[in-house]
């Protein structure tokens, strides 16, 4: 009696009996107090180009010290990292990497940013929060790639230290989130608005899955919502889907579908629209004023940057993003 608690980190808000673990598999009620099972124990640590996150408007051609623990608040049937996101801490191969040591390694590898990524960073909130504070003191940017399924209060607290966020807006219907992700759309949209209000640089990723979220009308509605609530300078990445995990029955996204999504978002008023997971001209950044290529990319490699002091080298137009620390 009296040991039942409610986790208020994500909108799922699990109520846990004593020794019960939350839906994320990494937070446990131990004798009436909530504990993190993954603090300081990441399962994945790597130095990645920041373009891999993908951040296209944050310190191009720099490395991000990338870290993740097991666990996730959602259960997407198309997850590309399900081995770790749907795993549990006792079944994964974890490292011991305390926050100060993590920042020391990031500095040693000359990383300009720390990226909380691969799985859902909200599940290792306390770890991310502590690392963020130390990283900030050393002039390292804090970035996260998240599904945005987090409550307002913890998100606002994190925003004190967070510089940039890449949010997976998986679709623009509640039905998709309920059937394929085990979550809801509304909290994700709320989180995007909070990030905007808190001044965190935000890029959006939309994995285009054939027959599930590739309807141009849905993409148009999503793009117009982004223009209205986040601004026309918010980059959006339409990523190509490959059959994986529980959606192996579907084909990879055809190029024409991605091209239609690209055109729809541009017509809705978004200035920076990209196609990911595929080599096309749409992986470059074009100046919205003079239309010239200002960042040329081939995959994760940056070939050319024509931005000086946050402005287009050719026409002096301001380019939204974080261009220096």
């Amino acid at each position: 009696m009296g040991k039942r608690i409610k986790c208020e980190l994500c909108p799922t808000e699990c109520e846990l009996e004593n020794y019960e673990v939350g839906g994320c598999r990494v937070r446990i009620n131990r004798d009436g107090e909530l504990f993190s099972l993954v603090y300081g124990n990441p399962c994945s640590v790597a130095v990645d180009p920041i373009e891999k996150k993908p951040f296209y408007h944050v310190l191009p051609a720099t490395d991000a010290f990338s870290v993740a623990t097991v666990g996730c608040v959602l259960s997407c049937k198309f997850c590309q990292n399900y081995q770790i996101s749907q795993g549990s801490p006792e079944k994964s191969d974890n490292k011991d990497l305390q926050p100060d040591e993590l920042v020391r390694k990031a500095l040693a590898y000359n990383c300009k940013s720390v990226a909380y990524t691969y799985t859902e960073p909200a599940v290792f909130y306390e770890y991310m929060y502590d690392v963020s504070q130390i990283a900030k003191n050393y002039g390292i940017l804090n970035t996260m790639h998240s599904c945005g399924y987090i409550n307002e209060k913890p998100l606002r607290e994190l925003c004190k230290y967070l510089d940039a966020a890449c949010i997976d807006l998986k679709a623009f219907t509640e039905d998709f989130y309920a059937k394929l992700c085990g979550g809801r759309l509304k909290p994700v949209l709320d989180a995007l608005v909070v990030l905007k209000e808190e001044g965190v640089w935000t890029e959006i990723v939309n994995l285009v899955i054939p027959t599930h979220n590739d309807d141009p009308k849905q993409i148009d509605a999503m793009s117009r919502w982004i223009v209205k609530n986040m601004g026309e300078d918010t980059p959006i990445h339409f990523s190509r889907f490959f059959p994986y995990y529980k959606l192996k029955n579907l084909p990879p996204t055809p190029f024409e579908t991605l091209r239609t999504a690209w055109e729809t978002a541009r017509n809705a008023g978004l200035n920076y629209v990209y196609i990911g997971n595929m080599r096309t001209n749409a992986e470059n950044t074009f100046c919205p004023v003079c239309k010239k290529i200002i960042i040329q990319r081939v995959g994760y490699t940056v070939k050319e940057v024509n931005i000086i002091d946050g402005k287009c080298k050719f026409c002096d137009a301001e380019i939204a993003g974080i261009w220096e620390t």
Partner: protein
């Protein structure tokens, strides 16, 4: 391996796995943020 030996082997495996989980939970010292008690 006969059936009896196999069951014994599985029981020992399960016991060790549950023990390692219990140890991991006990070892955890980092209190989480954002939660409340429910009556």
């Amino acid at each position: 391996m006969n059936r009896r030996a196999f069951l014994k082997f599985m029981a020992i495996g399960t016991f060790i796995s549950s023990l390692s989980r219990k140890l991991m939970i006990r070892r955890t010292t980092k209190k989480a943020m954002f939660w409340k008690k429910v009556k």
